[in-house]
């Protein structure tokens, strides 16, 4: 799953949202690191709707502008949770190794419990 797709799904955890709301939530969730452009957003939404990870929640006209809201399906919630768990395992694997290395030299210490003299 690509990062923008991951954050688009994550932004719908809060509840249903229309296109602009998803863009805003994505920026907030990623702390400004991921900004989804409109074309990218709708490409991702098309794929997610096709894969039945997201479905249309409601359609309305607000201030003369047509808005279609989307929500997560059960499959989408499950896929998002699985992806988050996978990334968490991957992050833990790296961070636990990083914690073992010395900060000054930056070299990794022996991993068999042998302390340097």
């Amino acid at each position: 799953m690509r990062e923008p797709t991951y954050f688009v799904l994550a932004s719908l955890l809060e509840g249903p949202g229309h296109g602009y709301a998803i863009i805003q939530r994505t920026t907030e969730l990623s702390q400004g690191r991921v900004t989804v452009a409109v074309g990218t957003l709708y490409g991702a939404l098309d794929r997610l709707v096709n894969d039945e990870l997201v479905r249309v929640h409601s359609e309305e006209v607000v201030d003369g502008r047509f808005r279609r809201s989307y929500e997560l399906t059960d499959a989408g919630r499950s896929a998002l949770t699985d992806e988050a768990a996978r990334m968490s395992i991957a992050a833990t694997a790296v961070l636990s190794h990083a914690a073992m290395s010395t900060p000054k030299s930056g070299k990794r210490q022996p991993s068999r419990g042998i302390k340097p003299a």
Binding site: G19, A37, V38, G39, T40, G43, R65, F66, R67
Partner: protein, 281 residues
């Protein structure tokens, strides 16, 4: 009331195919307008670029299938149609083309059309050897005297015929609008000459690719196909006609086109892979 911003947003939606605009148009315009800062009358550069990319990708998806093979096939088919149009345009009497020697032998034209029809039949689909063997038989049927008289003319035509037919062995992946390609190529070639037509097409593609306007990998394959036909034409002329030509001519007519061909192939391959990767994630 429609604002200037919304009008410009609708203009940008032209990148998408009509069916997609009908389905998602109002929603996209609303999101685009919301995402644009209040003092602007045109969407931001990032949104414009993403709409162009996504719109063209959607167009490819609706017309050229989903695999790199489909994209390559579309490019080859369009390129062969262009090449066919250019060749026909250059051989119409009274046209601007200067090097066309004569109208080809009618038997070759009939054989060419018969092969095109044969390649469209179900039994001959995906049967490239059948096409090649038929071309070989056709070559053998040409009297040796005519072969000698015509010099490089017949091999060139056969090269062209084989190059043109091969992409059509199998499924047609382009839209009906693609059929406008040979017609425009005939007109361009007849009015301004083949060299001008090929040159202008290549320059247009190079400039459009440089400016980022053409990210469609199909056109890179199409251009590379057209270049291959031209390189084969010049190459067969040099090999079989054995004319006295300068090194500069060889450089201009073979080396540079080969380099450009490799560039187009690389762009097309990378573009097709990127397109498929983006669609599948």
């Amino acid at each position: 009331m429609t604002t200037k911003l919304e009008r410009n947003c609708r203009l940008l939606l032209r990148f998408y195919p009509r069916a997609y605009r009908k389905l998602r148009g109002p929603e996209l315009v609303a999101t685009l307008a919301d995402s644009t800062p209040p003092n602007r009358s045109f969407p931001t550069f990032a949104n414009t670029r993403s709409l162009a990319t996504a719109g063209i990708r959607e167009r490819i998806a609706t017309s050229a299938g989903e695999s790199p093979g489909d994209i390559r096939r579309w490019g080859a088919q369009s390129g062969s149609l262009l090449a066919l149009g250019l060749q026909i345009g250059s051989r119409i009497p009274g046209g601007a083309s200067t090097y066309a020697p004569a109208i080809p032998d009618p038997r070759l034209i009939v054989a060419f059309l018969a092969l095109c029809l044969l390649s469209r039949t179900r039994s001959a689909r995906s049967s490239i050897p059948v096409t090649l063997i038929t071309l070989g038989v056709l070559w053998e049927r040409i009297p040796p005297s005519e072969r000698r008289m015509s010099g490089w003319h017949y091999p060139l035509l056969l090269f062209f015929a084989s190059m043109s037919i091969l992409p059509f062995v199998g499924r047609w992946t382009g839209s009906r609008r693609s059929l406008a390609l040979p017609v425009s190529a005939v007109l361009l070639s007849y009015t301004f000459g083949t060299s001008f037509a090929v040159g202008s097409f290549m320059i247009f593609l190079l400039v459009a690719s440089t400016l980022g306007a053409t990210i469609d990998p199909r056109w890179s394959f199409s251009a590379s196909y057209l270049l291959t036909v031209q390189i084969l034409n010049v190459g067969s002329w040099l090999l079989l006609g054995r004319p006295e030509v300068s090194t500069l001519f060889v450089f201009q007519s073979l080396i540079i086109p080969c380099a450009v061909l490799l560039g187009f192939l690389a762009c097309g391959t990378l573009g097709a892979r990127r397109y498929v990767r983006l669609r599948s994630t």
